[in-house]
């Protein structure tokens, strides 16, 4: 139990530092999502399944989705196969 907790906390710390040092924005969003996912596992181990569920759905899923879409809106992340026909025509 204590080893599992240790591994999870180290994973969270590594992912949190990765958010700061990664140059690629979308990779940083993915790392932030990993922090939330690990945290939700931690909540399960601490017997708080309700909070774990919220953390997994909102923290890992929804907020990283909103961050990724905001990056796209700001032009910091581009999907490679954007349709260009409308501009060329």
């Amino acid at each position: 139990m204590i080893w599992l907790l240790g591994i999870l906390i180290v994973m969270m710390l590594v992912a949190a530092i990765a958010v700061l040092v990664l140059d690629n924005h979308i990779a940083a969003v993915a790392a932030a999502s990993i922090v939330s996912l690990t945290l939700s596992v931690l909540f399960v181990l601490l017997r708080a399944p309700d909070v774990a569920m919220t953390e997994a759905a909102v923290g890992a899923g929804l907020s990283s989705l909103i961050l990724a879409l905001s990056l796209r809106r700001l032009g910091l992340w581009r999907i490679e196969n954007t349709v260009k026909e409308t501009e060329d025509a």
């Binding site: 309700d50 759905a57 032009g75 954007t82 349709v83």
Partner: protein, 228 residues
């Protein structure tokens, strides 16, 4: 200079956290109300999940505030994002993997979302978690085919009706001479699907509202123009 400030901030935060950790012994609940609720909640509200009886029974007005905050936030996001020009470039459809898995996952996510909402008074989960899953279910087709049109009027209707339903249930308790949002109806037997009075109805309203709101917000965000 900026690094130094961040370092000072982090050190101060660590100091305060250590002070808090040193002052309280872990595992011992410092509050009395938690123990009282743990003992009395199942009889008073009829909900097997004590978290739900706190969220909707004892602290229902807090939940109303949370819904209001979420509504305001999504409204502000919708205002800031603005409208897209019709000639703006659009992302191409995604690959076959995402398209097919979106079709496969949509009914599954719908069932899981409604299951979590309707069993909120029995098992972990509830309106907020299930609502987010519902929003994800309705966002998936948009992720697979970015051009898909979204029925924003329908989403607003669901959202408005669900929010009005939540307040209406609260007012109904008020008309019966009880406190605002006090649970009504028969409590039923503990642990069955139809139990805990109005709590499942309140969670259904919360779930539909959260789901419709977040689905609309995500659709707005995904539909916004990209700076090229």
């Amino acid at each position: 200079m900026r690094n130094l400030t961040s370092l000072l901030f982090a050190a101060g935060l660590a100091f305060f956290l250590l002070v808090i950790a040193a002052r309280f012994d872990l595992g011992a609940a410092p509050m009395l109300i938690g123990n009282a609720i743990l003992q009395e909640a199942p009889e008073q509200t009829g909900a097997a999940n004590i978290v739900t009886s706190v969220v909707l029974g004892y602290r229902g007005i807090d939940t109303l505030g949370e819904i209001a905050i979420l509504f305001t936030a999504s409204l502000a996001a919708g205002l800031v994002l603005g409208r897209r020009r019709p000639e703006a470039a659009r992302d191409a459809d995604s690959g076959a993997v995402l398209q097919i898995s979106a079709q496969l996952l949509f009914p599954l996510l719908l069932v899981v979302g409604f299951y979590i909402i309707l069993h909120g008074h029995l098992t972990p989960g509830g309106g907020f978690q299930g609502g987010v899953i519902l929003a994800a279910a309705f966002f998936l087709p948009l992720l697979a085919r970015p051009g898909t049109s979204v029925n924003h009027a329908g989403l607003s209707l669901v959202e408005g009706l669900a929010g009005a339903g939540f307040i209406l249930i609260g007012l109904l308790a008020l008309f019966q001479g009880k406190a605002f949002l006090e649970p009504l109806l028969d409590k039923g037997t503990l642990g069955t699907l139809v139990s805990a009075g109005t709590l499942p109805l309140l969670y259904l309203a919360v779930g539909l509202k959260v789901g419709a709101e977040l689905a609309g917000l995500l659709a707005n965000l995904a539909d916004s123009e990209v700076d090229q």
